[in-house]
């Protein structure tokens, strides 16, 4: 057993941290976050130059041939700075889906350009709010909710009912009949309602495997967990720094046990979340069945990292309530990640089943 990243992974971490410090300073992350349609295309392209969007893509499809663990460590760094952009839907979930279930033609058409940062593919896989259905003429009708970054996506992978079965289709976003409406959230994530009105589908749009959604969703859950852990780690660091430097009554507030004990709980929440995350990601990357481990990691981190964010607000006091302070964005980032790729209830139900509770 070994919790330490390999030297190559350490290099990835330090490169990512340095790059994000320079290219995605808090003011920039803030600006994109507060713009309802914000998207930093230049940053997205520079990330692609580092091979990030291609981490899960094999070299022969234009990718950088990384591993799932690389993605997890990178997501932690992106979580730390609240990096904007549709990395999880496009570079993690849609990429995993295409690799696992795309036709040879779909893979060749999409993966190299996605890895290069030239095209973005988002996903509409969540069952909640999804009424998409393929009618007997092969046309797609209905709507999907919570589709991230649909406004900048070149295509969407949608889950739709087809005569009782669930079908996965890759749909170019500009196909006639597709409309995208922003859902307006409290956080930095750009979510859309995607409506399909008699959108024509061809056989070439349908993915080869219809059961691959769950696996891709699990990889996405791991990425979101890593994002939460990174953001919570940052909240912890900021809160401890504040506790050391904020002086009231002649001494730093961190000299009081009430604040010390709160900080100690933040450490527990972050470390425990990270342990579950790494263990689950390692197991998945070894090809072992890891669904229950991933469900535990996501459910746990969602609760624990949100607790860190809320406690962080208490430690910061009034200043943390301001829009210009970074705390609320980290908090909202965790909030958004906690409900994407399965919320707590959904993952806990998976765990309940896995530990043998009869339904």
């Amino acid at each position: 057993m070994d919790f330490r990243p390999s030297s190559a992974q350490q290099l990835l971490i330090s490169t990512a941290r340095e790059f994000l410090r320079k290219e995605c300073p808090p003011e920039r992350a803030q600006q994109i976050a507060l713009d309802p349609l914000g998207f930093d295309e230049a940053l997205w392209r520079r990330m692609a130059e580092l091979g990030w969007q291609g981490l899960l893509v094999p070299a022969d499809l234009g990718g950088s041939d990384g591993s799932l663990l690389d993605v997890i460590l990178l997501m932690e760094e992106m979580g730390r700075v609240g990096a904007p952009g549709p990395f999880v839907p496009s570079a993690v979930v849609a990429t995993s889906l295409l690799l696992a279930a795309g036709s040879a033609d779909q893979k060749k058409r999409w993966l190299p350009t996605m890895a290069a940062g030239e095209r973005i593919v988002s996903v509409a896989l969540a069952e909640t709010g999804n009424t998409l259905e393929i009618d007997r003429h092969g046309r797609l009708n209905g709507r999907a909710l919570f589709v991230e970054a649909a406004h900048v996506a070149d295509a969407l992978i949608v889950a739709a009912r087809d005569d009782g079965a669930r079908r996965l289709a890759l749909l170019p976003a500009d196909r006639p009949g597709v409309t995208r409406q922003p859902q307006e959230t409290i956080g930095p994530e750009k979510l859309f309602e995607v409506t399909c009105d008699a959108v024509s589908l061809t056989a070439a749009d349908i993915l080869d495997r219809q059961d691959a959604g769950f696996e891709a969703f699990q990889v996405g859950a791991l990425a979101r967990t890593a994002e939460m852990v990174g953001a919570a780690q940052r909240v912890l660091e900021l809160a401890v720094e504040h506790a050391k430097t904020r002086v009231q009554g002649g001494r730093p507030i961190g000299g009081h046990q009430a604040i010390q004990h709160a900080c100690a709980d933040l450490v527990r929440d972050v470390d425990a979340s990270r342990g579950l995350l790494y263990a689950a990601a390692w197991k998945a990357s070894e090809g072992e069945p890891a669904a229950a481990d991933i469900a535990m990691a996501k459910a746990y981190a969602s609760e624990a990292c949100l607790a860190v964010a809320r406690r962080g607000h208490q430690i910061f006091g009034a200043i943390g309530y301001c829009e210009e302070h970074p705390l609320h964005l980290l908090h909202k980032r965790i909030l958004a990640a906690s409900v994407d790729c399965g919320d707590v209830a959904q993952h806990l139900e998976h765990v309940a089943h896995a530990i043998g509770l009869n339904a």
């Binding site: 057993m1 070994d2 919790f3 330490r4 990243p5 390999s6 992974q9 663990l69 401890v240 506790a243 050391k244 001494r251 730093p252 961190g254 000299g255 009081h256 046990q257 604040i259 010390q260 004990h261 900080c263 100690a264 709980d265 450490v267 527990r268 470390d271 425990a272 979340s273 342990g275 579950l276 790494y278 263990a279 390692w282 197991k283 070894e286 481990d293 535990m296 990691a297 459910a299 746990y300 609760e303 209830a345 806990l348 139900e349 998976h350 765990v351 309940a352 896995a354 530990i355 043998g356 509770l357 009869n358 339904a359």
Partner: protein, 392 residues
């Protein structure tokens, strides 16, 4: 990054499981209460069985009769024993004391005590706390006065687990009044049979006896029973407490996992498993237990690699104890009106183990460093927050 177990570790785990299959636990007589930490009851018979297999001394150097197995073998043994609910109560204390004797014990301690530890015959109680020295251990009053080649110990120790049934006490004393606060302390390994010791049981709120108080009335011990140099006992104590947080709690996660499995069976049998709230609480508990396990494994890796530990064991210990309380509370909730029935009652579900766990868990956030003291340790030593002013 690597989260699996080596083939040798897996083979050892299988060896332990085979031993447990071949030796049903009800064959081992129990001599002392299970205090709920996860290591089960005190059983000399079980300790001797572990000794016969060479498992108590397996990680010691060969010069001391060991097999220099890697530290992780101890973790494997702990996990398998705790998952089975085995009575290995004194094992962690035996390991810690033996390690201290190997590191800085006298020839006499090495010769007389180590072989008995290896056989599972010698077990230890900790004589640290005193009536007026709890969280503030350095306020202790027990003195060891030098008299020729002997020391004469006089004082009053309390909250010593299994002191009445163990064979030796680790008695923490003041050997000099002149030295500054953290100096002038010495630790002794005192056989229970030494004249002048009066060991009295303290009945706990469980109805059973786990703790004892020990009156030392001019207890004369030869200097070879001092553990480490005179006046350096405080460091030995800190090492002991640090190590206790890890070794005395490592088995909590597998032990809680065992309890949760039993509660899952119970919930399935009663139909409570269909309740959405129950499912959610139990699933959440499973995730927390897994998280706890990895906190301990992370600390284990740091210990193995000789990396510095500032807060890691303190975080893990507090979490272990608070999670144990939470699971006991969940268990009591599941049992409803049956919850308060005690072990031995005809109707007690799960053999009364849940009500017992509920009560014993109350002591865990106090023993071995209170949750409050340890959170302060995490904040000050781990995060570098300023310490509160201390009295001189």
């Amino acid at each position: 990054m690597e989260f699996g177990f080596s083939p040798a570790e897996q083979a050892f785990a299988e060896e332990v499981r085979a031993f447990l299959r071949a030796n049903p636990l009800d064959r081992f007589a129990l001599d002392g209460m299970d205090a709920g930490y996860g290591s089960g009851a005190h059983s000399r018979a079980f300790m001797k069985a572990l000794g016969e297999r060479g498992w108590i001394s397996m990680c010691w150097p060969e010069a001391f009769g060991g097999q220099t197995k890697p530290m992780f073998f101890k973790l494997v043994l702990f996990e398998e024993l705790a998952l089975a609910g085995a009575p290995f109560g004194p094992l962690a204390g035996s390991w810690q004391t033996a390690d201290a004797i190997i590191d800085y014990g006298s020839e006499r301690l090495r010769r007389d005590v180590l072989p008995a530890v290896a056989r599972g015959e010698a077990t230890f109680w900790q004589g640290y706390s005193e009536p007026d020295a709890g969280s503030d251990l350095l306020a202790l009053k027990t003195e060891a006065r030098r008299d020729g080649n002997d020391y004469v110990i006089r004082g009053h120790k309390i909250w010593s687990s299994h002191a009445g049934i163990a064979t030796h006490g680790l008695v923490f004393t003041r050997t000099s009044r002149e030295a500054r606060r953290s100096r002038g302390f010495s630790m002794f390994v005192v056989p229970n049979s030494t004249p002048g010791m009066d060991i009295r049981p303290i009945r706990s709120l469980t109805g059973g006896v786990y703790h004892y108080e020990v009156f030392l009335d001019d207890v004369r011990v030869p200097e070879e029973l001092r553990l480490g140099p005179e006046g350096e006992g405080f460091q030995a104590l800190l090492n002991g407490l640090d190590s206790d947080r890890f070794w005395g709690r490592f088995y909590k996660a597998p032990a809680l996992e065992r309890v949760l499995r039993r509660l899952v069976d119970h919930a399935n049998a009663t139909g409570a498993s269909r309740d959405a709230g129950v499912r959610r609480r139990m699933a959440s508990m499973a995730a927390e237990i897994a998280a706890l396990r990895f906190l301990f494994y992370r600390a284990a890796c740091l210990l193995r690699d000789g990396a510095p530990i500032t807060y890691e064991t303190a975080v893990a210990k507090v979490y272990a104890d608070e999670l144990g309380q939470k699971l006991a509370r969940l268990g009591m909730d599941l049992l409803g009106p049956w919850a308060p029935l005690r072990a031995g009652s005809r109707e007690a579900p799960l053999g009364g183990d849940i009500s017992h766990a509920y009560l014993t868990s109350l002591g865990h956030t106090i023993a071995g460093g209170t949750a409050e003291v340890l959170r302060t340790t995490v904040a000050v030593r781990g995060l570098g927050l300023p310490a509160e002013p201390r009295r001189a």
